[in-house]
Amino acid sequence: MRRTLQDKLAILSDAAKYDASCASSGTTRRDSRSGGIGSAGGSGICHAYTPDGRCISLLKILMTNFCIFDCAYCVNRVSSGVERARFTPAEVVSLTLEFYRRNYIEGLFLSSGIIRSPDDTMADMVRIARMLRRDHGFKGYIHLKSIPEASPELIEEAGLFADRLSINIELPKDASTRALAPQKKPETIRAAMANVRLARDASRERTHTGKRPARFAPAGQSTQMIVGADQANDRDILSTSVRLYAGYDLKRVYYSAFSPIPEASAALPLIRPPLMREHRLYQADWLLRFYGFDVNEITAPTLDGNLDLKVDPKLAWALANRGVFPVDVNLADRDTLLRVPGFGTRTVSRILNARRSGLVRYGDLLKIGALMSKAKPFVLTPDWSPRAMTDADDLKARLEPPPEQLSLF
């Protein structure tokens, strides 16, 4: 029986939902006033939200969910009995454009199972991107999930059409990748990320004639790690992230709580997705990138190297390092203020601005938008001192959310 476009879309979007990334921001500014259709650049737009709280920014689909690999955590592995379908390139192009014209999406996030060979699959994905850009003048956002085993020339071409390239590292430790995804090679995945990085670096350098080469994946590259499918603890996961950020100039590492999949492999536990753990990892990832923390500081408060699920990682760090507090809001430098629980990067910038107009008092902090319920044991202002609160034994218990909230997760 031939499948209709509707059937294929159902199968191939269902198969794509385990990819967390949906970003459509940070690419080159462009629009269609000089021809073609679409615009991009600046902050991304989330066009809808599904009841799982995730946004729909891009048409996120698989080109096909046929796959010759056998990755235990993946619903599309060759040994799974899931229904299979395959889009033609023309179908993907037309779905993207028609959705785009109705303002449903910002663009396309195309991923694929591996059919025939990695190069064949990657070549088809590149063809779709090329058709969108060249034949239809599409200026919207394109994210291609690259196949690490594909030849560097294909990735090179993909980067000319795509805003973002991603290559999923999948699991935080090489041993887990070898055990759960026997056809994937961690070194191949890393080498592919390195190639993307080098191509991006090269595209930003002017040639000897002073000409700028074509932009290569202007919105950068990202990756995704599955959390909870193997035994890795949060320290392992975050250390891997830090290495990836440093080595391959990644824009984002996405953490995806391992979610029960239909046709699950017997190799994996059928667990509830560890959503709170995923959330804490994102918080920790932010602390590593924007708040000057390092992995060991963040994972030190617990003995098993996992983040505390009850309190956020910055608060957990502050509770374990109370000697540093309270800090004087009117004297402390930016780096110190950034370490105060309840102060975000924007709050800190506002505090520094407000200090120019005079002393900052407790009420000012509230007006500025600081989360004082969290911050007050850790700060000093002319009209506020936490006194013994900072060192109180029950401080953690007081700052934890009431236990019933946790049952949500």
Binding site: Y104, E263, P273
Partner: protein, 474 residues
């Protein structure tokens, strides 16, 4: 008392013109009534001054930008509030920059609400296709924003959908884009936009991209407030999706792993073929080294960096380990130290050579966006000697040059300090000749005269190597 009537369309212009005039006469905020829509002459009001007054009103860019957004807010007191901010600004320029100032805070909140509404309009307008007689496709939408944003939010659509004609109707006004020109018109009745076949595809997508195992309603509603739902077709599906979520998750859990489809075993067998065989050549050794896991370095490094050059060269040069650039590209000696070595080799005229490292994986600690080199441990060097020995076995160099202490240790087994040994020849355990010299990265670390001295020593040693190789080839 003055009274300013603001129209529904073009109110920003009107407000700015009036404000410029009133400020030039230094008229106090409480002497002005601002009203939208006009109507009923309740008060006897003074006529506005006909000419610009003596004061030159000024405004800072941040306040001006803020005003652009705040004016669109639907609250009735907004034009007056903004006028007081402009009026205060003529005598107190700093208040607007202080995030703790109450009026600044208030304006910022109002602006934020408007910007959010604009952002949501960009996100939640849903076009339906309309019939057309020309070659340009036509689309129409009905949208109910919270604030007066039809003029501020629609230029975005003009840039994005330049090759089609479209109309966005709102209760406060209509934006029409035809043949590349955007125009605004007074509000009309809610238009009847016909069904669009594409909407059922969109519904299919919306239902299937949702993961029922991860319900998080609060997150959905805070980003997609219910006030926008009525004009978004996909939101009608949400109740049913919620009702089925538990059942779908239970079904996923209950589904026992089915026996794999018949094609699986054949495919997996084909993929498993071609595993590396015995190591009987330099190429085979390189292939085997690519998946080396003898020590833990492979876990962090990108890839094995194997040697390169002439595999029948009489001279082999061994460095310490790949650096950042080598790790990314998979080629030895392509980074800054490699450049120093290549220059030195070029100057002394080194002939064919095999370039490699004592340790084949990059060892580093990440520091922000950089990776800092770390010296490999004794263990790591010893593990990796397996590969170095294989390279020496297949290349069979007549002379090997050790760059730096790590290479010297890997080749000779002697880890004594390098300085007194530099420029001398030692032996590998199997009797091969090893000439010891500085590592080029040592030259890079030094500054001034000592760097020049080290660079000269490196060159002296390399030319000695060239002579030794030439002598033994006779």
């Amino acid at each position: 008392m003055y009274r300013i009537d603001l129209p529904e369309l073009g109110f920003a212009e009107r407000w700015r013109d009036a404000t410029r005039l009133l400020l030039s006469h230094d008229i106090a905020p409480d002497a002005i009534i601002w009203r939208f829509g006009g109507g009923g002459d309740l008060f006897a009001c003074d006529p506005l001054p006909g000419e610009v007054g003596p004061r030159r009103a000024t405004v800072s860019r941040p306040l001006n930008d803020l005003a652009g957004s705040v004016l669109c807010h639907q609250e009735a007191e907004v034009p007056a509030l903004l006028y007081s901010a402009f009026h205060r600004h003529q005598s107190d320029r700093r208040a607007i920059a202080n995030p703790a100032d109450p009026l600044t805070r208030r304006l910022e909140r109002l602006a934020k609400a408007v910007r959010r509404d604009i952002h949501k309009m960009h996100a939640f307008v849903r076009f339906r296709e309309l019939p057309t007689e020309t070659s340009r496709r036509r689309f129409g939408a009905w949208f109910e924003p919270e604030h007066r944003i039809v003029e501020a939010a629609t230029p975005f659509f003009a840039k994005r959908f330049a090759d089609m004609d479209w109309t966005i109707a709102t209760p406060a006004g209509v934006a029409r884009f035809e043949n590349g020109a955007l125009s605004f018109h007074p509000a009309a009745q809610r238009p009847d936009v016909p069904e669009d076949a594409c909407e059922s595809l969109w519904a299919t997508y919306f239902q299937n991209i949702f993961n029922p195992a991860r319900l998080h309603l609060k997150a959905m509603q805070s980003e997609m407030p219910k006030k926008y739902w009525k004009n978004m077709p996909e939101t009608q599906l949400i109740p049913e999706m919620l009702a089925q979520a538990d059942r779908r998750v239970a079904a996923m859990r209950a589904a026992q792993p089915a026996s794999p489809p018949s094609r699986a075993s054949g495919i997996l067998k084909r993929l498993a073929e071609g595993a590396p065989g015995s190591v009987d050549s330099l190429e085979a050794a390189a292939d085997a080294a690519r998946v080396c896991r003898r020590c833990g370095l492979c876990e962090a490094a990108t890839q094995t960096v194997w040697g390169r050059g002439d595999p029948s060269a009489p001279l082999m040069i061994v460095g310490e380990q790949p650096g950042d650039a080598e790790d990314l590209s998979g080629q030895p000696f392509v980074g800054p130290a490699g450049k120093v070595l290549t220059e030195a080799m070029g100057e002394v005229g080194t002939g064919p050579v095999w370039l490699t490292n004592a340790v084949k994986h990059f060892k580093f600690t990440p520091r922000g966006k950089r990776r800092l080199h770390q010296t490999p441990s004794r263990d790591e060097v010893l593990h990796c000697r397996w590969w170095l020995d294989l390279e020496r076995k297949f290349v069979k160099p007549r002379l090997t040059v050790a760059l730096g202490a790590t290479a010297a240790f890997a080749l000779t087994g002697n880890d004594a300090p390098l300085a007194p040994r530099r420029g001398t020849i030692e032996r590998t355990p199997d009797g091969g000749q090893v000439l010891l010299t500085w590592h080029p990265s040592y030259v890079l670390r030094l500054t001034g005269e000592s760097a020049a001295v080290a660079r000269r020593s490196l060159k002296v040693d390399l030319s000695l190597a060239r002579r030794l190789v030439a002598e033994t080839s006779g």
